[in-house]
Symmetry: C2
């Protein structure tokens, strides 16, 4: 690759094999038309002969003739060049291409990574609690087969879809492996749902997982916010009025460990939401990232259990197993799988076989339940430690939710203390708070932020919370 | 997971730790409000205590009290249930959720997989020619580090982006690692470009890679077809008129081994296209999946070389290395990377670290150039064998392009022979032809289909071509 790129030109019409005269004529024609600027390198003899299926020496004969006509010159160990002033072909490009006309990134998108600080609101789970070594063991087992699989199933690795369906069946979800679509994290599950919709308005809790809201918005969907107060629960009468007014076609809801509030719907609320949605003709997409993190080794019923097969169910192994695997899934009634799958194929064709195979192996070995039980124990302990630290540290007037475990809770500031002021104050001490304005549809009705106790050992979190408490006290 | 799911309810306002009386009151309230249908299982004592942060025995005391009031009953080894008729909570769901209102899949999307037939038009490369074992070796090397990486870089594994930038620099492309965005195959690169656009109309060659066209269309973009005749090349005057009339904001073009025709642009045509696009203010996205497959170990200049940094350049390791890896990339000027990256993050957050690390290892070991050289030799041989077979087998009036190597060529039928008739006739003999109507913008001006000589050993392909030739002859 050390030599200059060569220029290409068309030699011959179809119908017969090209000869040396055709090549000479073609080069003459191209030079006259400006297609071969001076200094351009012509294709090597061997390449030209191979590409045109020429008999041996044909190209050399042609180049010799072109050289004799003064049109090209041969430079030893460099190649054959269009004769005259030494100008490369790049210089012959007439103009610069116009820039791509693009939209700006959504204003409220955070930079990709927090670096160099204690991110006190992150939903990620401490890497120390994730089974990275066991996953590597599963990957090594997958690689014991000779070579890697060549192809992928656009719907997801079949044994993985079977494992997922079996696990969901045990949790009361009636589904088959061909109703499971494996995705690149649950984010892609939301993406393929959003781009399949024929309606133009969706309802979301407010606040809500900000990247779901931004995803819907960038795909041109209008959003209706349904107010969620993690201290008071769901005001079903208010939701009823909002649905009646806005007439969305779909509700996106996070029913366990709601992001960002940590709220989990009560069963009565789930039943109420179902009744509302049925009455207003609103389809439901349930994002169940959180219920696996509930301790107790049993599970509360999800909307998908209560509301039946029309509820599209989304979940992921990403947070709980290992973010870098990027394996999530959607479960949908067979009737709509072809549309969702078509959108997945247009988005990525299919996803990484190796990652899907590693997760399938992890499930097949029965590692997942053991891992979840251990993870839940650890999250419970961190949750309890977080509650203790908050009770000790926070000044009066600060409130927080009690999600009952899981990764995060919501910390609500006393009246008159601004989130931005706290964010700025703690940043000076190396504590990073995710400012949550991107999570609200319209004006925020809460004044607070997420605390992530899954991400940090209790003593680290307590150190961060002390800084937060000091900042709040100073601003009161 | 063998016991019934339990119902959840909210016990207490914030401010103080709940006691047994709070629990009793909450359950009574919920039962009265219909939130705890008879037969519902209450949370296990241990779970309730843990979730609420109760002191030991609080929940048991409350359940005992509720039992004494006749509101709940304890069943040995099953749990605590709301007393009275035995109805599960699922039966209490008021109604079935409405179905998701979705668009149908694009009519011209093919089913995901061809099974049980000789797919004579596939662009895939014979798995025998792909370095599956060497990739597995690289994966094992990656896994020698303890555990798997926890996180991922949303833009793509940094060492992989560095390798890609270095390779592109050697091919005359001026770019830095932070201008490379790794994607799930080149399909995701097209997806993030398409969803970043602020213009509503794009130009495409017709015919064109069908999944690019369908992707643009499903995202609401209008398409303008620029006619490509693989036997006569690009009619720049016609393109000029089409661009002037339709005023698209972007051109998507496949400049080497154009899919589906196998056509490669001459340098003069590339310069002409650049001039047109500059004059009409049309940005360029160049899909360069093919030039790596050109034999000769050197490369022709691409539009990205000639037209500069505003040309968005898309390529992939997928076809040439291993489809199941799903690693492609886009290269874009630094100014627009934030927008493209935001769209990637909204689509998938980030992609599989392991797959990116395996490709980085493969490149770092210098395996890729050796693999490409070997692949090119084999493709050249298959190309030559395909030309020989076509010349021997096809009746007069059948034409085919001579792409000069690579994976596919275009076979054009004699006037009066319909593609659909040939497709149907050969299907009866187990030969599958991709019907190409989805590849055209508007009415097809070609009557033919793709032949994929990279996918099959020469003798297998020749057997298929003989069946195709017989079918054509019978229809003439």
């Amino acid at each position: 690759m050390s030599r200059a790129p060569y220029v290409s030109f068309r030699v011959t019409p179809t119908g017969r094999r090209a000869n040396a005269a055709d090549i000479v004529a073609a080069v003459e024609r191209e030079i006259a038309a400006g297609g071969l600027p001076t200094g351009s390198r012509l294709p090597p003899v061997r390449v030209l002969e191979q590409q045109l299926g020429l008999s041996k020496n044909t190209a050399q004969v042609a180049y010799d003739e072109l050289g004799a006509r003064g049109l090209v010159e041969t430079r030893a160990r460099e190649g054959v060049f269009v004769a005259a002033p030494m100008v490369g072909i790049a210089a012959a490009a007439p103009v610069t291409s116009p820039p791509l006309p693009i939209v700006r990134p959504p204003a409220l998108m955070k930079p990709e990574n927090h670096r160099g600080g204690l991110a006190i609101g992150t939903v990620f789970i401490d890497p120390e609690l994730l089974p990275s070594e066991k996953l590597a063991e599963c990957a090594r087992a997958v690689l014991k087969q000779p070579g890697l699989a060549t192809l992928y199933d656009p719907q997801g690795f079949a044994p993985l879809r079977e494992q997922i369906a079996t696990r969901l069946n045990a949790r009361g979800i009636d589904c088959e492996p061909d109703e499971v679509i494996v995705t690149t994290g649950s984010q892609q599950a939301l993406d393929i749902v959003a781009r399949s919709l024929e309606i133009r308005r969706v309802a979301l809790e407010t606040p809500v997982y900000a990247y779901a809201k931004l995803l819907f918005e960038t795909l041109g969907l209008a959003t209706t916010g349904l107010r969620l107060d993690p201290f008071d629960g769901i005001d079903l009468a208010a939701w009823d009025r909002a649905l009646a007014t806005a007439r969305p076609g779909m509700l996106y809801t996070i029913t366990s460990f709601h992001n960002p509030t940590g709220y989990s719907y009560t069963t009565r609320e789930l039943l109420g939401v179902l009744e509302l949605c049925a009455r207003h003709g609103v389809a439901i997409v349930e994002d169940d990232w959180g219920s696996d993190m509930l301790s107790g080794s049993e599970y509360r019923p999800m909307l998908r259990v209560l509301g039946g097969r029309n509820v599209v169910y989304v979940n992921s192994f990403t947070k709980k197993l290992l973010p870098s695997l990027r394996v999530g899934f959607a479960v949908a009634d067979r009737a709509i799988v072809p549309s969702l799958l078509a959108m997945k194929r247009l988005a990525t064709l299919g996803n990484v076989w190796l990652s899907e195979a590693v997760v399938a192996e992890f499930l097949a070995r029965g590692y997942y339940d053991g891992h979840l039980a251990q993870l839940q124990r650890e999250l419970d302990a961190r949750y309890a430690a977080c509650l203790t630290a908050l009770a000790e540290l926070m000044p009066p007037g600060v409130r927080w939710t009690t999600p009952g475990g899981g990764p995060t809770l919501w910390l609500e500031l006393p009246r008159g203390v601004a989130v931005e002021a706290v964010v700025a104050a703690v940043a000076r001490h190396g504590v990073i708070i995710d400012e949550r304005s991107a999570a609200f549809v319209g004006e925020p009705h809460l004044t607070g932020f997420r605390i992530g106790y899954a991400a940090h050992p209790p003593e680290t979190l307590a150190r961060g919370l002390a800084i937060v408490a000091d900042a709040i006290r100073a601003l009161m």
